[in-house]
Amino acid sequence: MVILHLAIILPFIFALLAPLLNRLLPRVHTGWLMLPVPVVLFAYMLSLIPVIREQGDLEGTIPWIPSLGVDFHVYADGLSLLFALLITGIGSLVLLYSIFYLDKNKEKLVHFYVYLMLFMGAMFGLVMSDNLMVLYSFWELTSISSFLLIAFWHKREKSRYGALKSMVITVFGGLAMFAGFLLLYVMTGTFSIREIMGDASAIANHALFIPAMLLILLGAFTKSAQFPFHIWLPDAMEAPTPVSAYLHSATMVKAGIYLVARMSPIFAGEALWLWLVSGLGLLTLVYGSYRALKQVDLKSMLAFSTISQLGLIMSLFGLGSAAALYTGTAQAEFYSKATMAAVFHLLNHAIFKGALFMVVGIVDHETGTRDIRKLGGLMSVMPITFTIAMIGSFSMAGIPPFNGFLSKEMFFTAMLNIRTMELFGMEAWGTLFPVIAWVASIFTFVYSMLLVFRTFGGKAQFDKLEKKPHEAPLGMLISPVVLATLVIVFGLFPNLASYSLIEPAMAAVHPGLLSPGEQFMVSISLWHGLTIELFMTIGVATVGILLFLMHKRTAVLNQPLFAKAILNRSYDGGMRMMERLSGAITRVYMTGSIRHYLIYIFVFLILAIGMTLFSEDALKVDTTGFADMTFYEAAILIALVLSSVSVLFVTSRLTAIILTGAVGYLVALFFVIFRAPDLALTQLSVETVSVALFLLCFYHLPKLKKELVSLRFKLGNFIIALGVGTIMTLVALSASGTRPFQSISHYFLENSYKLAGGKNVVNVILVDFRGFDTMFEIVVLGIASFGIYSMIRLKLKEDGAEGG
């Protein structure tokens, strides 16, 4: 038990306590009671920075299911620490913001904070877990708590739709990831990520290596909203804004990125990994930034922006994995620059995107709309909000002196570096990478400008707004101001974080790349000389400004290239199709007709038994043990066959009943000649009674539907009946032909008088040797008679439903 365990459990404890605290202190906004949790955790995480740098990684374990190798094993290294700081730090700010954002009297605050605490704990546990199964548990917990948070306003249909969609997609990916984890376990025999990393080179040629990689990547891509699984994120914007800011920009969507970074030491060096992660990341980057241009809703715009920035980070992690191929050479450092850029941008994006979401929340709160077409001219009304929005957007666009500029420069550097690689077909396609990145950056620039200047610039049109806009309350502004300050601080003094946060995180992503005592060179400077990257940025800014100025006239920016969201449509269509298809399939075979069900049962019986009979070579007809047939047996048999067959062909029901009776009596005769007097007695009386009952039924048949016609002959029924008969005959013959051991009947014959004092062996078996069966047969008869009695007597007739 380490303090880390306590730290992970703390949010869950507070989630449990939240309703109680709310009951005890009803006047206090629940958010104030929850605020200490992330703050304390954040402080604790900060105190771990020097510890991890100097004394190495922290770990601790609590057994959970030791017999299966599943332990609650926590492990804190540079990467987890970076994520943990983001989670707790932005978590504190979001909590503070939500206190002012959510109204105490109108909203169900307890629900909100319970979900949020659950989410925080799950996310925190996710990044700290070393055990794959524990990681998966926390992963699903983030999916579930995110589902609850998105549908926080569950009375709105769009909230429920968005929550369901995100649930379906992320859980689909989560399950794929689970399968991938299991494959890893199959290959290595351990759930511990550290131990798997140790085996990484051993399993690289395993047959399950590629499937495991693909499945785990599927999990990461769905969670991190990569193309084409990004479709849930824009719909998740129905959540309250603090949730969007926290989950859908800073933390949960980065879980997939965390997974990619965490798994990188296992899978890096594989061509497929590099191409999938980088390629899909770049595709997401371009697609997301392009789609963001078209949004008229501020939150949707930010959602697509998040998607594209996540693609950027993802592609950088993919490129960084190239470093693993050059372990020990100078090139390793060269390619690991991509990882540095990824980690740095991860940090930057969380900061400025959090601020931007909060800004949009403020705008929504103060004006009543998020529609970009109705907004404008808020600059003078909301100066502080405007400043924050500008800082955030400029950082996102990559304009100096904000931190986004630095990460964009590093992004370009990494993209340019990859051209020099001579593996995996990079020499042919590598040139494409910087070009795509450059185009995407232009789109990013344009929508960032749109975001600021169409909301705050331009003409004021207050008459379209529901409320009279004014500056937000101070409490709501604290968190975005803090974040905006951080944007500038990291922009001006980027080396603040370089050795405390970025270097340890890089070391975690690239273990084995460094010899002990060595460190990655992390130096980020605002001015790095006249390089190609700088000219690329200047180009981005120039083209971006031009496009922005002409955006009302530029067809590329206004006319949707894809008429509607194709992927959303195919998702909806796919869902509907699946529903309809399964409905249709069910309707086809669940006809409601007993005849059809009987056909299924019999056909299955024929197939199953017949196949087994032939595949196991069990069909043996051995006639050596058979007795000779006597004359009267033959006579009764003929009579039996005649009467059974004629049941099928008679035209009146009465005749059929009588013939059935005849069959019963003939069976009784069989009992006689096979020397079973008790059976014959019982058979006779039972047959008489049942024939009488049949006649009773016959008499009470409704008059109108009386169809005294011959059975309709159906070929299918005939074949099935024939099949069942043949199969059962074959089974009986084969079973009696092979008798592997003696029957136990001689015991009863010897002991029925000696032990039980009866000469009638059948009766002795019934009441003495096997008395329990008889008892329950009696129970069956009793139940049947009660059932008949109650069916006749109790005729409950409740509004139309026929009883009895």
Partner: protein, 89 residues
Amino acid sequence: TVLITALCILMLAILANLYRVVKGPSSADRVIALDSVGINLIASIAVFSVLLHTHAFFDLILLIGILSFIGTIAFARFIERGVVIERKR
């Protein structure tokens, strides 16, 4: 062999009766045929138990006698009155 011949004759009688059961133009014919099937059965079981040297089947003879009597009566009532058991009110 005498007994077996007897049994054969009884079997033929049963088959003939069954023919009447199947064919019989009216219900009464069938009921009578069934009644005589029952009596033939009694006879054949009796012969059969002599053949097997056992008296374990004598109960059966009695039972068939009773059952065929009751059955015939029930059928007769059914044909005559439409119900087997009348309600006492």
